[in-house]
């Protein structure tokens, strides 16, 4: 498939599916009965999906070059603690980036 066509197919289909996900319960609420098991399972979607998304960005793949670069793990852990207590994206971002830069500068000057 042509690259530009494929990109626009992704824009159209993913855009539509994302919109349907966003509208789903807002449109259906009170008109249909939602199975209690589904309601219970839904509670764990953000924790499971966001963790699965974020972890490979921090630790990489086992065996790959640069697996587990310590500064990123330390900075991400620190950012997680800030996020847990402040719930602020800006403070989490600030803490994580500053920690990473400090650790990279420290390892650079040592090595």
């Amino acid at each position: 498939m042509d690259g530009a066509l494929k990109l626009w197919a992704v824009v159209a289909i993913v855009g539509l599916l994302n919109y349907v996900s966003r509208l789903s319960f807002i449109a259906l609420f009170a008109r249909r009965h939602v199975p209690p098991l589904l309601v219970r399972a839904f509670r764990y979607v953000p924790a499971a999906m966001l963790t699965a998304l974020v972890l490979p960005m921090i630790v990489g793949a086992p065996g790959a070059v640069g697996f587990a670069p310590a500064p990123k793990i330390v900075a991400a852990t620190l950012a997680g603690i800030v996020a847990f207590f402040t719930r602020s994206t800006l403070k989490t971002l600030g803490a994580g980036m500053l920690a990473l830069w400090a650790l990279q500068a420290a390892s650079g000057s040592m090595g």
Partner: protein, 235 residues
């Protein structure tokens, strides 16, 4: 349009979203850089950011496009990553119920991680639903505008950002900001640990299929832990 722009609730929603918008600048830049690296035209990049309007889905889409993954795999991965919007939709539904259908349909398009977090706080504070709707519209509009601007800036200027800044690291940080506050109950932690172990253990799978498997594993483990906790406390 002019009437809504001068509405105090709309303006308050807009203003309160500005810190989150600032925090999303690096993420938007990274998305723009990714679209350029995947060979998208500028209109393709704008189409992605304006219509898909989800950083996670955009990053996954451009990475999978660049890797030459089949359309079905790209769509499925982005859809599963976007399933969290179903939860946000379910949580927002009771608040938006008194609004007209057209408002519900419009606001649904602007439902993002950030808008959801801001609105739930606002509605929980007991705002009247119509004021809450206008507040949501203001915040969602601010985020959408900022998102387009930063994506386009990243597309054109991304190469000027020095790699030593490690701007890519802003992406996991934005998700950490969203997920870490959830870690307050044992089933949630179980769901995250299971998903985390699975995504790393299965990272050998092609085309990021480990993401889907890990997400589903985490949801199942979290739900089972929830039942187990209920049985335990019922004794």
């Amino acid at each position: 349009m002019r009437r809504i722009a001068s509405d105090p609730d709309f303006r308050a929603g807009f203003a309160e979203m500005v810190p989150a918008c600032v925090a999303m600048v690096p993420f938007g830049l990274v998305c723009g850089v990714g679209a350029a690296a995947a060979g998208a035209s500028v209109w393709g990049a704008i189409g992605l950011s304006a219509i898909v309007f989800s950083g996670a889905a955009q990053i996954l889409a451009v990475q999978l496009l660049a890797a030459g993954a089949p359309l079905a795999v790209i769509v499925l991965t982005c859809f599963v990553a976007g399933l969290r919007f179903v939860i946000y939709s379910a949580a927002m539904a009771p608040y938006l119920r008194p609004l007209p259908a057209r408002w519900q349909q419009g606001l649904a398009f602007l439902l993002t991680d950030q808008a959801f977090a801001a609105s739930v706080r606002r509605f929980d504070a007991g705002a009247d639903p119509h004021a809450g709707g206008r507040h949501f519209l203001g915040g969602g509009f601010a985020l959408w505008m900022f998102w387009q601007a930063t994506n386009v800036a990243g597309y054109f200027l991304g190469n000027l950002i020095p790699p030593s800044w490690s701007l890519d690291f802003a992406v996991p940080l934005c998700f950490i900001a969203l997920v870490a506050p959830h870690f307050r109950t044992s089933p949630t932690i179980a769901a995250a640990v299971a998903a985390g172990v699975a995504v790393i253990a299965l990272s050998g799978l092609p085309m990021k299929l480990n993401l889907i498997v890990a997400g589903v594993t985490g949801i199942v483990v979290g739900t089972l832990a929830d039942f187990a906790r209920e049985r335990w406390t019922a004794r």
